[in-house]
């Protein structure tokens, strides 16, 4: 079920809020688990069982690790749990990819495996892995209450597209959490703003991207429009989802970690990844990069660590070679910054901004491509000397100028700063007391209007 659907907004969500808040405190986790399973089964009835099996193995092995801490048995339990989690991910997400790649390399004919990807498997598997490792490292205590643990892993706000919530983030809130008008209002605000980002910006820019893809006459200008639109689309799609997840979490009494911090204002790729999908990059840092030795090893090994982490990051995003290449492109940029560029960029931030936006845009072209070859061809087309502009490109540029400008401004902290300045004045603060709730209500109505007018609008990150 998509958050940006009438069925979610006007059936599931009110029902879940009613069930949750009518339950006594001791049953709230059970209510949340039940509604989360319904939410998951709504999209993937068969795979709800798979998720429950994953949860159960994580629960059992974490308890066993907790009991045998410091012994070899604990390490064995950790390895078994990791093998099970990664094995599940490998079979359901990567089996097709590896089989096809193997067949292609050795010229073999292998029947397609056709294994469907369970929604959200990358997200909940990473949460399970981090939990089991954290228990092994004694960073957290194993959760004794199965319902509370299952509610954590399957919690519907973050289940299918993140952010990746670590157990330590919400450990305390799993047993005791506070509610109130301020928290609910913050949650409602984040949710509605996220919905607006997804429905009014990301989906509208997706129309432009689709128009480009459907075009038979792609001029150089059209490639640039597409590249800019897709880059903004990805940001508003994914950060919109994260906002909705964080907002829903807040309504139900949880504090989820932030996932985006205006990544397009970064002045280097290194900074970009501190602002983009932060829960994933910190996960790879803590559970892959640092265990590999991080940067505290010899330089060639440190560079290899970066390359390894970014290839895995690419693979995490999708089981295809264009995603691997996307990761490699970022690895090359990060290595270049680490070895050569960072000093220069720090002194020339304006150039750093332009350089970052430009290369991030190129990387996202590869991200969106259906193959590595197509990705490089599209990148090359940005600089081709063919048709510079055509009627079609100009038409779509005129038609999407306002959404593109709104998206470009919305991707910066400017609106937030203007609002903060306005609220800092006595009159402005008084006006915003009424204007902000009314504007949010209006935004919710406009989003509803777009949902009713449209039909199918899947989230980009649904299958990752």
């Amino acid at each position: 079920m998509l958050f940006s659907s009438a069925a979610f907004l006007y059936s599931f969500l009110p029902l879940t809020i009613a069930v949750y808040f009518l339950m006594p405190r001791r049953l709230k986790n059970a209510a949340l688990l039940l509604m989360s399973l319904i939410f998951y089964a709504w999209g993937e009835p068969r795979y709800a069982i798979l998720m429950l099996l994953s949860i159960t193995q994580g629960y059992i092995f974490a308890r066993l690790i907790g009991k045998g801490r410091g012994t070899k048995r604990a390490k064995a339990y950790l390895i078994i749990s990791l093998v099970l989690s990664l094995g599940m991910l490998g079979v359901f997400k990567y089996a097709n990819f590896f089989a096809e790649s193997f067949a292609a390399v050795f010229g073999l004919k292998i029947a397609a495996l056709n294994i469907a990807l369970p929604i959200g498997i990358s997200f909940y598997t990473f949460q399970l892995i981090s939990y089991v490792i954290d228990v092994y490292r004694a960073d957290v205590e194993p959760q004794r209450d199965y319902v509370a643990f299952a509610a954590y892993i399957s919690m519907f706000p973050q289940l299918i597209a993140g952010p990746i919530v670590r157990y330590s983030d919400i450990e305390a809130e799993l047993t005791a959490r506070a509610y109130g008008a301020d928290k609910a209002a913050y949650g409602a605000k984040r949710f509605i703003l996220g919905l607006g980002k997804k429905v009014l910006i990301a989906n509208v820019l997706a129309e432009l991207v689709n128009a480009f893809k459907a075009s038979g006459e792609k001029s150089t200008l059209f490639y640039w429009i597409y590249a800019a639109a897709y880059m903004l689309h990805v940001y508003f799609d994914f950060s919109g989802y994260s906002d909705m997840a964080i907002g829903l979490g807040s309504i139900f009494g949880f504090t989820f970690p932030e996932n985006f911090n205006y990544p397009y204002i970064a002045a280097s790729i290194t900074e970009f990844w501190r602002r983009w999908h932060m829960s994933l990059s910190s996960w790879f840092r803590d559970y892959v990069y640092i265990p590999l030795g991080g940067s505290r090893v010899k330089k060639p090994r440190a560079l290899l660590n970066i390359a390894t982490v970014w290839m895995l990051t690419g693979l995490w995003h999708g089981a295809d070679w264009n995603f691997v290449m996307w990761g490699i492109m970022f690895a090359v940029l990060l290595i270049a910054e680490k070895t050569l560029l960072l000093g220069f960029i720090k002194k020339h931030r304006a150039i750093g901004h332009i350089y970052t936006l430009f290369f991030v845009m190129l990387c996202f072209i590869m991200f969106d491509a259906s193959s590595v070859g197509e990705g490089f061809a599209a990148i090359a087309a940005l600089f081709s000397r063919g048709s510079a502009a055509n009627t079609e490109a100009l038409y779509y540029l005129r038609s999407y100028t306002v959404p593109l400008i709104i998206a470009a401004i919305g991707a910066t902290p400017l609106p937030k700063r203007i609002k903060a300045k306005l609220e800092a004045t006595r009159v402005g603060g008084a006006i915003m007391t009424i204007a902000e709730p009314v504007a949010l209500a209006a935004l919710l109505c406009v989003c509803t209007a777009y949902l009713i007018d449209g039909s199918f609008n899947p989230f980009l990150y649904f299958r990752f």
Binding site: S5, A6, P14, A184, A185, T391, Y395, R398, L444
Partner: protein, 368 residues
């Protein structure tokens, strides 16, 4: 602090009012069977069963049901259209654009394989039925509203000359009758894709002359006394002014006998009940019909016409029929050309006209 608290309470209250309010309204309101503005059946509540849940069908059907039965659905669609046009300043909404109160739908780009498909099916008809019976073939294309509106107002427009050249090249057996010059944007309904019957006398004349048929009848326009909200009115979701509808009387129209092959009955030329139905344009020869024959008892021409057509022909056929003993209209979007020999005796016909809107030729996947 007090203002922050007030803001929080207001935010929660308004959001909850909308979400819980529309959720309750949606549950309590009676389901609508039809969308009048969209002219389609709306989804009904799906049946709950183990099979439908396990297959995911119940869920997908329920999501469609929620969208279709949402309270104030048309008002929300209007809100979306207003935001698209006036806030985002987008040039079209779902492909619909409006210039001076006239609505049209973008049809771009030129779909060459679609043109080829149409030509291939017409070629089959010619080779199978027309050529063996010595029937003289004609071709005419009806320009859509974009021909007059799109390019002039900065909207995307297909190359009409190229479309015509492609089709005529593939249909060398048919004599082309050009009617583009007989039409202007005023000859079309503002809220619909079709032309207005009371404004196509010149077009009728051009077609009749092109086929060497009689075009001497005098007609007068009768007011259908109805507000016509065309298909683009529904699709635009904006409060456009309705069109007035007229239909032509005079000539031999009152004496025509129209045979409907689907019902096996004779029917009227104009279906006055359709004026209050979902699509008033269906008043002309009863809308979508696979095969109809207009018999003109007053004609002494000795000629019979078989017209392969789309919906534009419904309103012009009664005018063209003046010059023929019989005009049979065949819509090969609703009947496969392979079956026509069983239903029509082609030896009775002297002439054939392929009369199609450019929109159907450019989107010919519906042609069987």
């Amino acid at each position: 602090m007090r203002t922050t608290r007030l803001k929080s309470i207001l935010t929660v209250a308004l959001a909850a009012a909308i979400i819980f309010g529309f959720a309750a309204w949606g549950m309590l309101k009676k389901d609508d069977a039809q969308s009048l503005s969209e002219r389609r059946a709306l989804a009904a509540m799906p049946k709950l069963s183990i099979d439908s849940v396990l297959s995911g069908k119940f869920m997908s059907d329920y999501e469609q049901y929620k969208l279709d039965q949402f309270p104030l659905r048309d008002a929300f669609r209007t809100l979306k259209a207003v935001n698209t046009y006036y806030v985002f300043s987008q040039r079209d909404n779902n492909g619909i654009y409006i210039v001076d109160g006239i609505a049209s739908k973008l049809d771009y780009p030129l779909n060459e394989s679609s043109v080829a498909h149409a030509a291939k099916r017409f070629g089959y008809v010619y080779d199978t039925y027309l050529k063996p019976n010595g029937i003289k073939a004609y071709l005419s294309l009806v320009p859509d509203k974009n021909y007059f509106m799109a390019d002039a107002n900065g909207y995307l427009s297909i190359d009409y000359d190229k479309l015509k050249d492609m089709l005529t090249a593939d249909m060398a057996y048919a004599e082309y009758i050009d009617i583009f010059g007989t039409l202007s944007i005023e000859d079309y309904y503002k809220t619909d894709l079709h032309w207005r019957q009371e404004r196509i006398q010149d077009t009728t004349k051009a077609l009749a002359e092109g086929m060497g048929a009689d075009d001497a009848a005098e007609y007068t326009a009768a007011d259908a006394d109805t507000d016509f909200y065309g298909i683009y009115y529904a699709q635009s979701a904006l409060p456009l002014k309705p069109d007035k509808m007229y239909y032509m009387q005079g000539g031999s129209i009152a004496d025509y006998r129209v045979y409907d092959y689907e019902s096996g009955k004779y029917v009227d030329v104009y279906d006055m009940e359709a004026l209050s139905g979902r699509d008033p344009y269906e008043m002309f020869l009863h809308g979508s019909k696979s095969i109809l024959t207009i018999e003109n008892p007053n004609s002494r021409s000795g000629r019979s016409l078989i017209m392969f057509r789309d919906s534009f022909a419904s309103s012009i056929a009664p005018l063209i029929a003046e010059g023929f003993d019989r005009v049979t209209l065949v819509d090969i979007r609703y009947v496969a050309p392979e079956l026509l020999g069983r239903m029509i005796d082609f030896s009775q016909y002297t002439d054939a006209l392929f009369l199609y809107g450019t929109g159907v030729i450019n989107n010919s996947e519906t042609i069987k």
